[in-house]
């Protein structure tokens, strides 16, 4: 095991949104626990995948990491520096190290700005002077993401969806970050274009030594791009492991159901599989005990009364299930 410090350390991160009722005198009638005690770390040059269904809190995690919303509790440390403790000016400085790529490049690019201005806008905000050097940097960034410097004068609507996502990526790498949050960054793209963007992200990771948190609902894409994968359900991580063990031998019943639900793009691998019943419960009134017990095929009394902790199962895998050992693969290697 390496003893290198992880680049990003997230501890006990939580965001609870108050739910209010009453027109004239609003009163709090409950809380949505969008993210509820999430901890993980991302190593230098590593991609951590974060998967889960709608409403599991994965996009809130992205916003919390960027401090676009203030956490209710928890810490986000980059290179040992706690972002929450920073004053606004210091935070702006620290933000150079972390950037985000959003799902919808259409909505996250200013339609009235030219491409060359979009990609260097973070630098201008950080205090860079406009001029020949900045234009040179813009041209360089455009070429790094597979666009040509000649396209710098074009506006976002003149680009295709895939090209717009390239612009979003160019903007993210402009301040030379070490860590990029990709929030459904390829989800809106057609398959043939999606593959180009995934390859671009991987090339940039190698060349610029980037770390990614890759958030997606698409388990096949996450498997392709990630080194390790975390699975979220109702605001919590239920399983985290390196991708090979997670996909080959998932332990948490939710992870197992999720992987079994993916339609396989090969007719000869068609199989009848056990399906998860029901919908995800409301995060406003999460079930007692294990949040998954309402849909789990293995629910026992203890699941209804006690919440399982995210416990180490060996081999770098952590699982939040009372019966993790029953579902765990037999470890044949003892090298770790």
């Amino acid at each position: 095991m390496s003893t290198v410090q992880p680049l990003v350390v997230v501890e006990g991160l939580a965001k609870h949104y108050p739910v209010r009722d009453g027109l004239l005198i609003p009163r709090e009638i409950g809380q949505v626990r969008a993210v509820d005690g999430v901890s993980f770390s991302v190593n230098e040059g590593e991609t951590l995948g974060l998967v889960g269904e709608s409403g599991c809190g994965k996009s809130t995690v992205a916003k919390l990491l960027m401090r676009l919303v203030e956490p209710t509790a928890g810490r986000v440390c980059i290179d040992g520096q706690d972002l929450a403790s920073l004053a606004p000016t210091e935070l702006r400085h620290a933000r150079r190290a972390l950037q985000i790529v959003f799902q919808d490049p259409q909505a996250s690019l200013n339609p009235r700005m030219r491409a060359e201005d979009i990609v260097v806008e973070p630098l201008v905000i950080q205090g860079a002077q406009r001029g020949a050097a900045l234009r040179q940097r813009a041209a360089e960034l455009l070429e790094m993401v597979g666009l040509s410097a000649a396209q710098g004068g074009s506006y976002p609507h003149e680009f295709s969806g895939g090209q717009r996502q390239r612009l979003g990526i160019a903007r993210a790498i402009a301040p030379k970050p070490r860590f990029i949050v990709c929030d459904e960054a390829v989800s809106a793209l057609d398959v043939s274009v999606q593959a180009q963007i995934i390859n671009l992200l991987q090339d940039l990771q190698r060349d610029l030594k980037l770390s990614y948190l890759f958030i997606s609902h698409d388990l096949s894409v996450v498997k392709h791009i990630s080194d390790r994968v975390a699975v979220m359900y109702l605001g919590k991580i239920v399983e985290i492991a390196d991708k090979q063990s997670l996909y080959r031998s998932p332990v948490h019943p939710y992870t197992r159901a999720l992987i079994a639900s993916i339609p396989v793009a090969h007719p000869r691998l068609r199989q009848a599989r056990s399906r998860l019943v029901g919908d995800m419960p409301s995060p406003m009134a999460p079930p007692t005990g294990c949040a998954f017990h309402t849909r789990c095929p293995h629910t026992a009394d203890v699941c209804r009364s006690h919440e399982p902790m995210l416990l180490d199962q060996g081999g770098g895998r952590r699982v939040a299930c009372h019966f993790a050992e029953r579902f765990a693969p037999v470890l044949t290697t003892t090298s770790s």
């Binding site: 269904e53 295709s160 895939g162 057609d190 593959a195 180009q196 090969h266 007719p267």
Partner: protein, 330 residues
């Protein structure tokens, strides 16, 4: 051989834009046999949804218009039918499900009333009889406590439940053909799996034919018997799902399969199709895939490739289908 249930011949559907009139579907032909599950797969702008709207007579006209070709359902020509005739066809003959159930359901009516209305629009039954049928339909699509659920409004249901209601409405008049346009795209993967199972069970019980339209190769592989691969308004390839997925002949199908991240294959780098999808207003005299194709020759740029039988009824619109391509899926 059964006569086909649905027969589409040389369908061309055009859209009027500021820059002129362009075909969104360009000379498409295919048949659907009774009880068959046909998948139509393609990326944005492939014309797959316009094909569905053309069959249903639901094209926004203007700007959309069926310019030429024929669509026959049980031998009866649909192109040129009046709105009243089309309305009589939709429901009892052709049922439909769309991607977004929230916009297909009326938010101000109870779901029970919407099912009952559908039944009574097509069959002379009493309200009480229709209500009983609605309860049975909700039971069938897996909605528990169906009698109480009849009084729910669409916003009280989850996305998966709303899509179940849409399936119930589509099945209300026992159609011989169900057209499902991206029926599970807006849903989470566990809910998608539930709904595909449900659709397959119902299809087997009733032996209705299904045309499922999607961008998801996995959904096609799991659900369909036969598949049409569309690219930029034209048919690139068609055949049994088994043949098209194991021995794709068209370079576009090969590229599409290779660029889909797979749970089974371990690969460090995804194969890609260079370039971007053509715009609707890009007129190309030859193959519309040629600008992105590694096998392109002069012929491809000059003339439109015919559909070639590549064996066992698998058809590909390519001059060079028998050249083994780099990056082809073994």
């Amino acid at each position: 051989m059964h006569p086909p249930l649905l027969s589409v011949k040389a369908l061309t559907t055009t859209f009027r834009t500021e820059a002129g009139v362009f075909p969104a579907v360009d000379g498409l032909s295919f048949d659907v046999a009774p009880g068959e599950v046909l998948g139509i797969v393609g990326e944005s702008g492939s014309g797959k949804s316009v094909t569905a709207l053309s069959i249903l007579g639901l094209l926004p006209d203007p700007p959309g218009r069926i310019a030429s070709g024929s669509i026959r359902f049980e031998g009866q020509e649909i192109v040129g039918m009046s709105k009243t005739e089309l309305r009589a066809l939709r429901g009892p003959s052709i049922g439909m499900i769309f991607q977004e159930p929230m916009t297909s359901l009326n938010p101000v009516f109870r779901i029970g009333d919407q099912i009952i209305e559908t039944i009574r629009a097509h069959e002379p039954v009493s309200k009480a009889q229709a209500r009983q049928r609605a309860i049975g339909l909700l039971d069938r699509v897996g909605i528990s406590m169906s009698e109480r659920r009849l009084d729910d409004y669409p916003h009280q249901l989850s996305g998966g439940m709303r899509q179940r209601v849409m399936i119930a409405i589509a099945l209300a008049c026992s159609p011989r053909l169900l057209l499902a346009d991206e029926p599970t795209t807006a849903l989470d993967v566990t809910i998608q799996a539930q709904l595909l199972d449900l659709l397959r069970d119902i299809q087997r019980e009733t032996n209705m034919a299904v045309v499922i339209i999607t961008h998801n190769m996995g959904v096609i592989a799991e659900f369909a018997d036969r598949v049409l691969v569309m690219y930029a308004g034209r048919l690139a390839e068609q055949g049994t799902v088994d043949a098209v997925f194991t021995t794709p002949r068209h370079p576009y199908t090969q590229g599409l399969l290779a660029s889909t991240p797979s749970l089974e294959r371990e690969e460090t780098r995804l194969a890609t199709i260079p370039g971007v999808l053509p715009q609707l207003n890009e007129t190309l005299p030859g193959c519309r895939f040629a600008p992105r194709c590694a096998r392109r020759s002069d012929a491809c740029l000059q003339s439109k490739p015919p559909m070639v039988d590549t064996g066992q009824g698998q058809l590909a619109a390519c001059f060079h289908w028998d050249v083994s391509a780099p990056g082809a899926v073994p």
